[in-house]
Structures are given as structure tokens and as C-alpha cells.
């Protein structure tokens, strides 16, 4: 069997396993439920045309789904859920394996740690991207009844649709990067909660602290770069130049370092069961 074929098989097995996890399923179910709730709220709040007219942005007006250039629009709500969900699911897929000791069983089937870890990383990225994109579609679709019955599709020209789809792609991409990051951090720590605490502490405390004490370092922060990639606009309110492509490159480079550390730590680690 060719190495590529075996890698593909392993990746599919890893995806099947991740999709079988209750947490992953529940996160998807919860997302769909929230979409449903949002659809109802959007519909109810858009029934009164005068109120709808007064709202600056309302999902019943399709054009506010995504506001080009500003990085705004209701799609960013979905992005937040997806990033948090990707972190939780990615970390748990790996953490659970160490906790249950199934990592031993996995290595008996695939003794090449490099291949196993690469397949696991790839599967997390692919799954997160696909699920992320699908949930974005579900999220926006939930507002569609309100748009068609109460709202309007004014201002949704070809350029707007292109911008929307590109934004959805970028959000799905960020979701995938976060999933891979979570998998890597959880591989280093072999524990779900430790990985999540690390990620949360980094994003919510350390980066905030650095940004407050040394604003000029802002351009190196993960959160700042994500906030540049999603709207695909130059970072504003800062005194440095950082085109979105540079921000994306920086994110990928950071991730590459973490993935490399995770791979090395997994390759050299004694696996002694539970």
C-alpha cells in the first residue's frame, strides 16, 4: 500500500473517530439549535416594518449579514462560536485519547508516530473547516425566512455575494487553524482541560496584558491578527502597517511552530497507557 493511501485512510479514521465524540456532536447540535432560535428571533423582531427600519443592522436585511471592509455583520457572531467550539473539540479529541488510553491501541495499528500525528492534525483541520463552513451556511439560512417574508435583499449584488462567500471561507479557515492549534496544545499537555486553560489564558489574559503594556507589540498578537484576517482589512487604530496577507502568514507561521513542537513531543514520548 502506498504511503499516501495509508495516510488518507488514517485521516478518514481520525475524522470518523472525532465525529463519534459526544462533545463534538453536542457542539454541532447546540449550534444548530441556536441557529433555530436565532431564526425565530430574527423573524419576530422583523415583523414590524417600522422597527425594522429603525434598526441599523438587522439580519432580516440581507446586506447586514456581511459588511465589506468593516469586518462587521452578524456573521461575526457565528465566527465567535466556531472558534470557541473548534478549540474545545480539538482539545477534547486528543485529551480523551490519552485519558482513555486508546492512544496505545492507535499506535498498535499505526506505529509511525509522525504519520499518526500528521493524520490527526490534518483531520482536525479538514473537519473544522467543513463543519465550520456548513454551520455558517446554517446560521445565515436561519435568517432567510425573515429576509424573504419581512426584510429585503437590497444591496446584495454580485460583489456583495463574493465578499460574503470569501468571508465565510476565511472564518472557516480560522476555525480550522484554531482546531489544529487545540490539537497540538492538547498533544503537548495530553490533557483537554490543561489545553483549554492554556489557550484561554493566552488569548484572554496574556495577549490583553501585552497589548495594554506594550501596544506596539499588538501586531504580533494572535487575536489582533485574527481580527485582521477575518475582515481582510488593514489593521486600523494602530501605528504600524500590517496587510491581511501578512497577518495570515504570521498566524500560519505561529501554528507551524506549535505543530512542530507537538509532533516532536509526541514522537519522543513514552506511551505508558492510562
Amino acid at each position: 500500500m502506498s504511503a499516501a493511501k495509508r495516510f488518507a485512510r488514517l485521516t478518514i479514521v481520525e475524522m470518523r473517530r472525532a465525529l463519534h465524540r459526544r462533545l463534538v456532536r453536542w457542539m454541532i447540535v447546540l449550534a444548530l439549535a441556536l441557529c433555530g432560535v436565532m431564526g425565530v428571533i430574527v423573524y419576530l423582531t422583523s415583523r414590524d416594518p417600522s422597527q425594522l427600519a429603525r434598526a441599523d443592522e438587522h439580519p432580516a436585511r440581507m446586506s447586514s449579514w456581511w459588511i465589506s471592509g468593516g469586518g462587521d455583520g452578524i456573521l461575526t457572531i457565528a465566527a465567535l462560536y466556531l472558534v470557541v467550539g473548534a478549540a474545545i473539540c480539538g482539545a477534547s479529541v486528543v485529551g480523551a485519547e490519552w485519558r482513555a488510553g486508546t492512544i496505545t491501541t492507535a499506535l498498535i495499528w499505526e506505529p509511525s508516530r509522525l504519520r499518526l500525528h500528521a493524520a490527526r492534525t490534518a483531520s482536525a483541520g479538514i473537519l473544522a473547516f467543513v463543519i465550520g463552513f456548513a454551520l455558517e451556511v446554517a446560521f445565515l439560512a436561519s435568517a432567510l425566512p425573515a429576509v424573504l417574508l419581512n426584510g429585503s435583499t437590497d444591496g446584495t449584488d454580485r460583489a456583495w455575494w463574493t465578499a460574503l462567500v470569501l468571508a465565510m471561507f476565511r472564518i472557516a479557515l480560522i476555525t480550522a487553524l484554531v482546531a489544529v492549534l487545540a490539537v497540538s496544545v492538547a498533544t503537548i499537555g495530553r490533557n483537554t482541560s490543561a489545553a483549554l486553560v492554556t489557550l484561554a489564558a493566552w488569548a484572554l489574559v496574556i495577549e490583553r496584558l501585552i497589548a495594554a503594556l506594550r501596544p506596539q507589540l499588538g501586531r504580533f498578537m494572535i487575536s489582533e491578527n485574527v481580527a485582521t484576517v477575518v475582515p481582510w482589512t488593514q489593521m486600523t487604530d494602530v501605528d504600524f502597517e500590517r496587510p491581511p496577507i501578512v497577518a495570515l502568514t504570521a498566524l500560519v507561521a505561529y501554528l507551524a511552530v506549535v505543530v512542530a513542537v507537538a509532533t516532536a513531543s509526541f514522537a519522543g514520548r513514552d506511551v505508558v497507557g492510562t
Binding site: R16, T104, T105, G268, V271
Partner: protein, 308 residues
């Protein structure tokens, strides 16, 4: 006969963050020939699981060399693992999947289809419980499932760490027969155990380790006969008088429980009965003294203890 497992000077230290490392294996040498069932025997903490982890590349040996199916491990493990089925300690499977789903999932890595999954489940007696989720399984059922996983690859070599752990007596017998059958088919079954009677009944060859060192290895019969001094056990109504009579005839006699152990080959039994009959003592019991692996095991591992 070629060696399926070869271990030379294997040493494994488990390092900790602080303190001195634990030396689990001290320069172990081991050769497992092809075909049949090989018992890897040792008391708790003697390094059986650690040796198996080294062979399967789960831990990195500190020193020494090992080869499996003629290829150095862990370097060439990816090329030979397709022919190796293994369980290490209590085999873990994904708890929220059924047994069948688990086996189909792992099997998919090697392109193994549902027919083989079915055959493996049947071989370990799980066919009718295969659609239950694994977290509802008992310890013995998990053990059987692990075994089914090891059989799935139709392996040339089975490396089984305490495979009958948690099984009931009927299950032990069933698995023992399965392992013997696998060994007789020409596969090599390498199994670790501290259930000595099981090893004695299942294995063709045995290696005994203690504290990470090999104490003894060879065919079970040879190991037993080498260790047993040829002697007869004699039962008498009056053992004291009997012992006197036999000693007067120049024989080495030692009371063991209610019996006398006479240092004489079993073929000389008639000589003993005659000597005793001559002084009016009649034998109530007479049999050759055999040493079980269990006694041998306790004997040699106990001796180590004294020497250490």
C-alpha cells in the same frame, strides 16, 4: 528455526521529573522462536509490560537492541506491524462506540473489512454482544474485545500482555484453547502472565523474568525436568518407621507433609516397596514427584530475593 522476537541487552529506565529513574529492565536477553505459544512469566513489576512496550515501540529503550519478525524495532515497526496483533495491559477501545464499530474503525486503517471483523468477534465469543457500547462492557468483555482487535489483522505474531486478566474460569479455558489453536496453526503467540498454571497448560516455551532480568528460558518440559530432582513420593501409615528403614538401606529420605520424598528415579519404585515390605510396612501411596512451573517459579524467584 528463525527467531520471531530477539532481544539483546535491553534496558529501560522510566525517567521522572524529579528523583532517580526506575530501572524496569536490566539488560534483558530473549529469543522467541517461530510458531507455538511462548509464555513470558514474571511476578508483578518484573518488567513484562515494559518489555512488550519496548517491542511495540510504545516506549523507547534506554539501551540494547530488539527485533521483531526479523526487523529492528522500533525503526522498522511500521513495515512489520501489519502482521502483529497486540494487547498491552487492559486494552482500551473507544467507549462510546460499539465493539463492532471499534473493530471496523481500527480495521479500516489496514483496509480490513466487516467479514474479518465478524470472524474476530466470533473467535472471542463476542458475536452476540457486538452491538453494545464498549463503556457498558465488563472487564472480561473488554479483554475479549482487545483480543478480537489483536486477531483482526490475521497476524503472524500475537503479543499479548496478560490476555486472560479478568476472565472467568470458563473464559480462561476458552481463550487458552484459542491461543493453543493459533500456536498450532504456525503463528507465534507471545503471552505474558503471572498465572503460572495457565502458562504451564498453554505454552510450549517459557521464559521467566524477575526484576527485569531473565532467570530461565526453554521448552516447558525441559525447564521442568531440569529443575526437578528425580524422586518418589511414598505414603505410609507409619512414616517414621518407614523413613528409618529406607535410610538404613542407604537412601536419601525427606519427609514432606504426610509423605516421604525418596531420592530415587521413579523406575526404581519396586525397590522401595520391597524394602518397606521386608520390614512389614505397606505402601498406601506411591508416585513420582513432579515439579510444577508454579513451584519452580516460586523457588527461583524466591532464591533471587535471598541473594539480593
Amino acid at each position: 528455526m528463525t527467531a520471531v522476537i530477539e532481544v539483546e541487552g535491553l534496558r529501560k529506565e522510566y525517567r521522572r521529573w524529579r528523583g532517580t529513574p526506575t530501572v524496569a529492565i536490566h539488560g534483558l536477553d530473549l529469543t522467541v522462536p517461530e510458531g507455538g505459544v511462548f509464555g513470558f512469566l514474571g511476578p508483578n513489576g518484573s518488567g513484562k509490560t515494559t518489555t512488550i512496550r519496548c517491542l511495540l515501540g510504545l516506549v523507547a529503550a534506554t539501551a540494547g537492541r530488539a527485533a521483531v519478525l526479523g526487523r529492528p524495532t522500533p525503526a522498522d515497526l511500521p513495515t512489520v506491524m501489519r502482521q502483529i496483533g497486540a494487547i498491552v495491559e487492559t486494552p482500551a477501545m473507544f467507549p462510546t462506540m460499539t465493539a463492532r464499530e471499534n473493530l471496523e474503525l481500527f480495521g479500516a486503517i489496514d483496509g480490513i473489512g466487516p467479514r474479518r471483523v465478524e470472524a474476530s468477534l466470533a473467535a472471542v465469543g463476542l458475536a452476540d454482544r457486538a452491538d453494545e457500547k464498549v463503556h457498558k462492557y465488563s472487564l472480561g468483555m473488554r479483554q475479549r474485545l482487545g483480543l478480537a482487535g489483536a486477531l483482526l489483522k490475521d497476524p503472524a505474531l500475537l503479543v499479548l500482555d496478560e490476555p486472560v486478566n479478568g476472565l472467568d474460569p470458563a473464559g480462561i479455558r476458552e481463550i487458552r484453547e484459542l491461543l493453543r489453536r493459533l500456536g498450532a496453526e504456525g503463528r507465534t503467540v507471545f503471552l505474558s502472565s503471572h498465572l503460572l498454571s495457565e502458562v504451564e497448560q498453554t505454552c510450549d516455551q517459557v521464559a521467566i523474568i524477575d526484576r527485569g532480568r531473565l532467570l530461565l528460558s526453554g521448552r516447558v518440559d525441559d525447564v521442568l525436568s531440569a529443575a526437578s530432582r528425580p524422586s518418589l513420593l511414598v505414603g505410609l501409615d507409619d512414616p517414621v518407621a518407614g523413613a528409618d528403614a529406607l535410610r538404613r538401606a542407604g537412601l536419601d529420605v525427606e519427609p514432606t507433609g504426610t509423605l516421604l520424598r525418596v531420592a530415587l528415579a521413579p523406575s526404581q519404585a519396586a525397590h522401595v516397596t520391597k524394602l518397606l515390605a521386608d520390614v512389614g510396612l505397606y505402601v498406601t501411596e506411591l508416585r513420582p514427584d513432579t515439579v510444577s512451573l508454579e513451584e519452580l517459579f516460586l523457588d527461583i524467584t524466591g532464591r533471587e530475593e535471598v541473594a539480593a
